[in-house]
């Protein structure tokens, strides 16, 4: 009699209040940023109206129909379960439809929370059922916790402050429900109003004290809340900041807490550039020894220079492939204070191009000249968004959004993904600030991007399956000539390498297929090894890599790919930058930090319409998957599933069949196992034998859908069934077994051993009972009994 029956009107009302608060909180937490708070709350309240109506009608009807709710053992009808499942799944369907309609994607956790909210609303509307009521309260609590963590603001504090007393009230009421177990509900519950009010007021006064009390007390109480810390300490899981805690948190509440958000710090510093990262990553370049020559100058040209000679840091930089072995400093355990070069928020992996090289002399790549064409950035609307008039291509499918924050990187090109559709750099809203560094790579004109700058960028993803239809004309355009083998100065590819390449692309017609076969050949035949270096005296690094070592760093892969593709007549360039790997994703800060180890080289192929498409020849690195529309993804998934089914159908059919039969006959199986167990281990003595027999019959009865009610005695229940079960069979065994079982169960310890009534022995009687009271017979009997 410990089961509660919290179906009273007051407890149901409390659950309604709690669910309303939870629904409003969830509405605020998952609302789109541009949606107003009033609209969110109104939307949530609109959802609640049907819930309240259904709960009121069903609750009243149940209380009228059966005023007494004693047992909590009733099972849920299948319709209710199905309805709740539909409610849960519905929000997924709605999101899919919304994405198809508006193209906007929502994070999966948001959908999950919405689904849970719907489920809770459904359960609340059925809260006249005690089990669902309790589950609804549990989900309410979860939703309040999760939404208060997601959303902030005064309203959320008020909601939590209201939810807490409502929860206490529900606990009180459900406890009362469990104490006052039996009997109809008549009139109003006599509730200890005075006590409850006192408790609530005591709890409320603590909050009031914390909010408006003396400074000292309020500060002390705030110390209990998770923040970035007070003086000299910090909390890694903080939500807001006070005092001088050094954690990186949003400065939305307190200007003293400065963190990983948009800020306007424009300070010059000795931050590392991309080339510093290269030196750290790939070792320093081997430069020819300085040869000093004396040149006589005319006296007129001799002038004493007093100021420091100016340095040219701007252009003409090179990337020599012959480098010293990199020092292992990059692989030292990093200090905690280490900062990333940039921080990235958005889908990974992604390639971030910074520098493109177009000229290769056999040993070194030279940076391409700065692009002279105007960068086609246009201001979009009123905000700071700038749109790029990208050349259209069918291969550019869907967009992804990234947010980049500049860390310690010192770079003029923006560290953003390629194929940008539009971007926003802090609050800079003038297109003149930007230009092409090289074709497809945006740079900031005349200066480096300041640390702390926040760049939002939307870029197209590349659907490689569309590239198969692109036609590459024979090279003729002067625009692309410098990206072809003819532009490689004196470098000509080695004939042995050319022969090898010939085997790679043999049988393939000109087109993207050839590019892919080159890339896959490189990925398949060569090993990525960052420590491998090319001997200093190597005349042809490409040949050395492809034919001799077959092992090298990513720049060797990328160089080989670029050189080979150029030889095959595809306009191609080497690109360096960063590779943001999804393995670096930090779930706590929800960012992917990009460190100097992430410096990376790859190649890009120029399509005839001017779009540069990245190819990744280095094993272990991946290109970003295209963000396809849901219909295309669906088709892809269906095709995949069909293919998988085609290959595995015999095994699948067999397992499906066995699974279905196991599910269908699970009770029979379980019964068979238990019966076998009964036969194998009948028990040490008669009492144990009787007990085991009884329990087996109880289980069978339950599986037959006709369990003994807990308030019914075995004799009454099974005695009532006996005439139906034992028809056409020698009966009476059960009565004998039950009579002896009663003694085992209820007689005080220490009986007298006597003869088994009616001849035979206990084992025989039990065996006959087990044989007579089978699951199937009990099922038949159940069908015969009117409910």
């Amino acid at each position: 009699m410990a089961e509660a029956a919290p179906g009273t009107r007051s407890s149901q009302s409390t659950i309604l209040v709690m669910t309303s608060l939870a629904a409003i909180a969830v509405g605020l937490a998952i609302a789109e940023p541009e949606r107003s708070m009033r609209a969110s709350i109104t939307g949530s309240l609109a959802l609640l109206i049907p819930v309240v109506l259904i709960a009121w009608i069903l609750g009243n009807r149940t209380r009228r129909a059966s005023p007494v709710r004693l047992l909590d053992s009733e099972s849920l009808p299948a319709g209710i379960v199905a309805g709740l499942i539909v409610l849960f799944v519905m929000s997924y369907g709605v999101e899919v439809a919304r994405e198809a309609f508006s193209g906007r994607r929502v994070m999966p956790e948001i959908i999950l929370i919405a689904a849970l909210r719907n489920l809770t609303l459904g359960m609340t509307s059925l809260s006249h059922r005690p089990a669902l009521a309790r589950l609804a309260v549990l989900l309410d609590l979860f939703l309040i916790c999760i939404s208060s963590a997601m959303a902030k603001g005064q309203v959320m504090i008020i909601i939590v402050a209201l939810f807490a007393p409502a929860g206490c009230l529900w606990l009180l009421l459900s406890h009362r429900g469990s104490v006052r177990l039996i009997g109809p509900i008549e009139g109003r519950d006599h509730f200890p109003l005075a006590t409850a009010t006192f408790l609530m007021m005591a709890a409320g006064s603590v909050f009031v004290l914390a909010a408006v009390g003396p400074t000292r007390a309020a500060t002390a109480l705030i110390g209990l809340m998770p923040t970035s810390g007070g003086t000299d300490w910090n909390d890694p899981d903080s939500l807001g900041g006070v005092n001088d805690g050094d954690n990186e948190v949003s400065a939305s509440q307190n200007p003293q807490s400065v963190g990983f958000t948009e800020s306007e710090i424009y300070l010059e510093s000795d931050r590392p550039s991309l080339y510093d990262a290269f030196n750290e990553q790939y070792g320093e370049a081997i430069r020819p020894k300085k040869q000093e020559r004396m040149i006589a100058l005319a006296p007129t040209e001799v002038r004493e220079q007093k100021e420091r000679p100016s340095e040219n840091l701007q252009a003409g930089r090179q990337f020599p492939m012959l480098r010293r072995k990199p020092t292992r400093e990059g692989f030292r355990p990093r200090e905690r204070e280490a900062k990333a070069l940039i921080y990235l928020k958005g889908p990974c992996p992604i390639h971030i191009p910074l520098v493109a090289y177009d000229h290769f002399d056999g040993k070194s790549w030279s940076e391409a000249a700065h692009c002279t064409t105007r960068c086609p950035l246009e201001r979009e609307g009123k905000g700071a968004w700038l749109r790029v008039g990208n050349p259209t291509s069918t291969a550019l499918q869907g967009t992804v959004t990234h947010q980049v924050k500049i860390g310690t990187l010192d770079s003029s090109p923006l560290p953003i993904p390629a194929q940008i559709a539009r971007l926003r750099v802090g609050s800079v809203d003038q297109p003149d600030f930007f230009g092409w560094a090289q074709e497809g790579i945006v740079k900031m004109q005349g200066r480096t991007v300041p640390a702390g700058t926040l760049i939002d960028v939307e870029s197209f993803t590349v659907d490689h399956s569309e590239l198969g239809s692109v036609e590459f004309p024979e090279p003729s355009s002067p625009l692309t000539d410098r990206y072809l083998a003819s532009a490689s100065g004196g470098y000509r590819i080695d004939p042995a390498v050319a022969a090898l390449v010939g085997t790679w692309v043999s049988g393939r017609t000109r087109g993207w297929g050839q590019v892919e076969s080159v890339v896959s050949a490189l990925r398949g035949t060569c090993v990525h090894d960052r420590t491998a270096t090319i001997p200093e005296d190597c005349p042809d690094p490409v040949r050395h890599f492809l034919l001799d070592s077959r092992r090298g760093a990513d720049y060797e892969f990328a160089t080989a790919a670029a050189v080979v593709l150029r030889t095959l007549g595809y306009p191609c360039r080497l690109v360096s930058g960063f590779y943001a790997s999804s393995e670096r994703y930090d779930p706590r800060t929800r960012h992917t930090p990009v460190l100097s180890e992430d410096a990376h080289f790859w190649a890009e192929v120029r399509l005839p319409n001017g779009v540069w498409i990245a190819v990744e020849p280095t094993p272990g690195y991946a290109l970003m998957a295209p963000a396809l529309s849901w219909s295309r993804r669906l088709v892809g998934v269906i095709n995949g599933v069909i293919g998988w089914l085609k290959t595995n159908w015999p095994g699948l059919c067999l397992s499906a069949l066995s699974l279905i039969s196991a599910l269908r006959f699970r009770r029979e199986l379980a019964d068979a196992v238990l019966t076998l167990g009964w036969w194998l281990t009948p028990g040490r003595d008669e009492s144990l034998l009787l007990d085991r027999t009884f329990r087996l019959i109880e289980r069978r009865s339950r599986w037959a859908g006709n369990p003994r009610p807990f308030s019914s005695t075995p004799r009454r229940w099974y005695g009532g069934l006996a005439p139906l079960v034992e028809t056409g069979r020698p009966g009476g065994d059960l009565a004998t077994v039950l009579a002896s079982l009663e003694r085992v169960f209820y007689a005080p310890v220490g009986g007298i051993r006597g003869e088994w009534p009616g001849g035979g022995d206990a084992a025989t009687a039990c065996r006959r009972v087990i044989e007579t009271w089978t699951l199937s017979r009990l099922r038949t009997v159940r069908r015969g009994i009117p409910s």
Partner: protein, 329 residues
């Protein structure tokens, strides 16, 4: 559990008891046709040393039952027809002045009998009703500061009429709690009425009624049986079940007066009697449930029309104890 052996053959009664009980049973069944369950309850009440309240419409056999019972026990039978002018002295007896001996002499009232039938008890005034209180509870009567003991087998059957409440004094709760159970007899079935009519035809019916029921017990023997009932065993689980049930009566919303500890004791004793009647040496939850209705009906302050429902709810709310697996057995 290893030190426990199973008693296969139930040995609730010893030889001879069975015949005596069977004789009373058959004589009562003969007097009250078609009501074997009522007869079982009456027998249980008698063996549990409790008093019986029979409430039903006139002419359903209340008095017949009481008289048949008194006769079959073989003890002295007395009857009080309760009316508003009934005085306590009419029940307990009184002292009269004896002219010859010049002393006050105690004239025992009808209460000094083995079986007392208090007919229409709710027509007596509370004063007269309360005169029965001491007799029923303590089996003694105090008249003029002198205590007079009643026989050990003293057994009260009171009847009352549920209709025609005009001019009646409903029994107070304290008085009701003295009764072990309240029974309703109800109309007999069609076949039983047939047989009853057939048996009533004939000139000898009057004589047969007068001395038809043979006495099968004497008060001494009844006392022995009652002692044996009191020693029927009640296991720990069944005791727990009784306590749970009592607790359930106290939390039911429609029950104004939960089961008293005295009521709980009575319930256990009646369950023992029920087990004894079924020839079993220990009490099972079935016995407890069997006697639940008459026991609870007399002492829970329930509206008469809700009685059945409330008692069913109470029984349905408490789980029948089943030991948890082999170790508990």
């Amino acid at each position: 559990m290893s030190n426990h052996t199973v008693l296969i053959k139930p040995t609730g009664t010893i030889a001879g008891d069975g015949e005596a009980i069977a004789a009373i049973r058959s004589s009562l069944n003969g007097a009250l046709r078609g009501k074997p369950e009522v007869v079982e309850h009456v027998l249980a009440c008698l063996l549990a040393r409790g008093h019986l309240l029979v409430e039903d419409l006139p002419g359903l056999g209340k008095t017949t039952l009481a008289k048949a019972l008194a006769k079959s026990i073989g003890g002295r039978f007395a009857r009080i027809q309760c009316t508003p002018d009934l005085l306590p002295g009419d029940v307990t007896g009184f002292r009269v002045y004896d002219q010859k001996t010049r002393e006050f002499e105690f004239l025992p009232g009808p209460v000094f009998a083995d079986v007392l039938l208090a007919d229409e008890i709710n027509r007596a005034t509370p004063r007269a009703q309360s005169a029965l209180l001491e007799a029923m509870a303590e089996r003694q009567v105090t008249v003029d500061a002198t205590c007079h003991n009643l026989p050990e087998t003293f057994f009260v059957i009171a009847t009352q009429n549920p209709v025609d409440q005009h001019g009646t004094y409903p029994l107070p709760e304290a008085q009701l709690d003295r009764f072990a159970m309240k029974l309703r007899i109800g109309y007999p079935g069609r076949d039983d009425e047939h047989a009853m009519l057939a048996a009533a035809v004939g000139p000898s019916s009057r004589g047969r009624e007068r001395d038809g029921v043979p006495s099968s017990l004497d008060p001494m023997r009844l006392g022995e049986l009652q002692d044996r009932v009191a020693s029927v065993e009640v296991g720990r689980l069944v005791r727990g079940y009784l306590v749970d049930l009592a607790a359930a009566t106290r939390v039911h919303r429609q029950v104004t007066l939960g089961l008293s500890p005295r009521g709980l004791l009575t319930w256990q004793r009646l369950a023992q009697a029920r087990a004894f009647l079924l020839d079993r040496g220990f009490v099972t939850p079935d016995d407890v449930q069997d006697v639940a209705r008459p026991v609870l009906e007399v002492r829970l302050g329930i509206e008469p029309e809700a009685t059945t429902r409330v008692i069913t709810e109470i029984l349905a709310a408490v789980a029948v104890p089943i030991p948890n697996g082999g170790r508990d057995i």
